[in-house]
């Protein structure tokens, strides 16, 4: 009995340590980014950027950027511009790496990220219409942008989804009031 309670406390502490805040404390959103499996001779993990735009295309915040962080002489930065929309809208104003936002490229599969309003990359968003934009660019491959519009704040939990055709798979957005 005692060990069951102890292990429950341990996993709760571990969860908080990873930045997963229970929904009851703050509004937030979870995004799911699927990087499709590619059957190509020369495969490179894509560069991916996920950010929020307001209705007028102004950027509310960058949530994640996956690029080749470990290359010598910061060479990985050279290809950030190939995420063309992100680069033009906000990327070129930022200085990477940014703690909590940038990270290494990820393998094929589904990647889930959770954000709490007012902590980390997700700022407090004024009420209004927004877009989650996810852009992927792959070396010796293509580039794709997937946009998921949403209204903020959500009065009840909302699940939204869109599907990429080539460089991105399912992009999901769960809004938590």
């Amino acid at each position: 009995m005692a060990s069951a309670i102890a292990s429950t406390r341990y996993s709760l502490a571990l969860g908080t340590g990873l930045g997963v805040v229970p929904a009851v404390f703050a509004a937030g959103l979870n995004i799911g980014v699927e990087i499709p499996r590619m059957d190509v001779a020369e495969y490179h993990r894509p560069y991916v950027a996920a950010w929020l735009e307001r209705a007028d295309n102004a950027v509310a915040g960058t949530l994640a950027v996956w690029y080749e962080v470990k290359k010598r002489d910061n060479e990985g930065v050279k290809w950030l511009k190939d995420m063309r929309q992100w680069w033009r809208r906000t990327g070129r104003e930022l200085s990477v790496p940014i703690d909590g936002i940038t990270g290494p490229t990820r393998p094929a599969g589904r990647h889930d990220l959770a954000f709490s309003e007012g902590t980390g990359p997700l700022p407090k968003l004024p009420a209004g219409s927004y877009k989650l934009v996810v852009e992927a660019s792959r070396e010796s491959g293509g580039r794709e942008v997937v946009t998921v519009p949403f209204d903020w704040p959500a009065k009840a939990p909302v699940s939204l989804k869109d599907q990429g055709k080539s460089e991105l798979g399912a992009i999901t957005l769960d809004l938590k009031p």
């Binding site: 930065v77 050279k78 290809w79 950030l80 511009k81 680069w87 033009r88 070129r92 104003e93």
Partner: protein
């Protein structure tokens, strides 16, 4: 007097001067115009009939000036002047927008030799005019040519370009780093630093060799000197504008011919 104005200056091609809009295309072609970190680029410079193919002459880059975002100059490196093109490398180390420009100014004269009655042509600078053109020349007609051949390269975040304020000049409203297929871009043309209305502009897409019509996009600057282009496809584009006025810098010249060309890159 009339004959002098109808003469075409084919020799201009040898010096890389665009003296007449329908002669040869002159251009700079950078390897990239948008960079996300400081790095080297390479640039081709040519006088040719096609965009952007080399089929005539290398461009003389004696008057090349590369202006960095902080106003300083960047020297071209590994310069090679071949049969059909000039190539050079540039080490772009600062964030911001670089202006690459070849600016030429000269006087063109035509006259009849008093002794032989032969029509002669001369090009040069004002200081050489008195020495090289006979004082007793008949029907002397002098025009001034002011031309600019430009392109723009941006590292990271674009920065404002310092104006030239002389001759015909393109002032971007839309940054050259923000040109996107399907979107509208706006530019202003200035003459001697002031917006110039009524200037005719032609915009030609890359790849003229591979299509049957040139299909230029034509525009005329409005009362504020502005013109806009909505890019039909991604790729390189050549913007060309020319004008004439009487504001010459040297008294013997009665007419001034201004020309401006630029290479811009539109991304998908």
């Amino acid at each position: 007097m009339r004959i002098a104005y109808r003469l075409t200056f084919c020799a201009a091609a040898l010096c890389g001067l665009l003296s007449h809009a329908q002669a040869h295309n002159v251009w700079l072609k950078p390897s990239s115009t948008v960079l996300s970190k400081a790095e080297w680029i390479t640039v081709d410079a040519a006088v040719s009939n096609d965009l952007f193919f080399f089929n005539h002459f290398p461009l003389n880059i004696e008057k090349l000036a590369v202006t960095a975002p902080d106003g300083g100059t960047v020297q071209p490196e590994n310069v090679s002047r071949g049969k059909l093109r000039t190539v050079f490398d540039l080490n772009l180390t600062q964030p911001g927008t670089y202006r690459l420009a070849v600016a030429n100014a000269s006087l063109n004269a035509s006259y009849k030799d008093r002794a032989t009655g032969q029509t002669k042509r001369w090009r040069g600078t004002l200081d050489k005019l008195a020495a090289e053109v006979p004082a007793d020349a008949v029907d002397l007609a002098v025009t001034e040519s002011v031309s600019r051949i430009e392109t723009f390269v941006t590292v990271g975040k674009p920065s404002a370009l310092q104006p030239i304020n002389h001759g015909l000049e393109l002032v971007p409203v839309t940054s050259p780093a923000d040109l996107v297929q399907g979107e509208k871009a706006t530019f202003v043309l200035h003459v001697d630093g002031k917006p110039a209305p009524g200037i005719e502009v032609e915009v030609i897409a890359d790849g003229t060799r591979y299509r049957n019509q040139i299909d230029p996009v034509k525009a005329t600057t409005d009362a504020q000197g502005r013109f806009s282009v909505t890019w039909p496809a991604a790729g390189l584009y050549w913007i060309e504008a020319s004008a004439k006025d009487g504001k010459t810098s040297a008294a013997p010249a009665k007419e001034r011919r201004l020309s401006y060309v630029a290479t811009v890159e539109v991304l998908p």
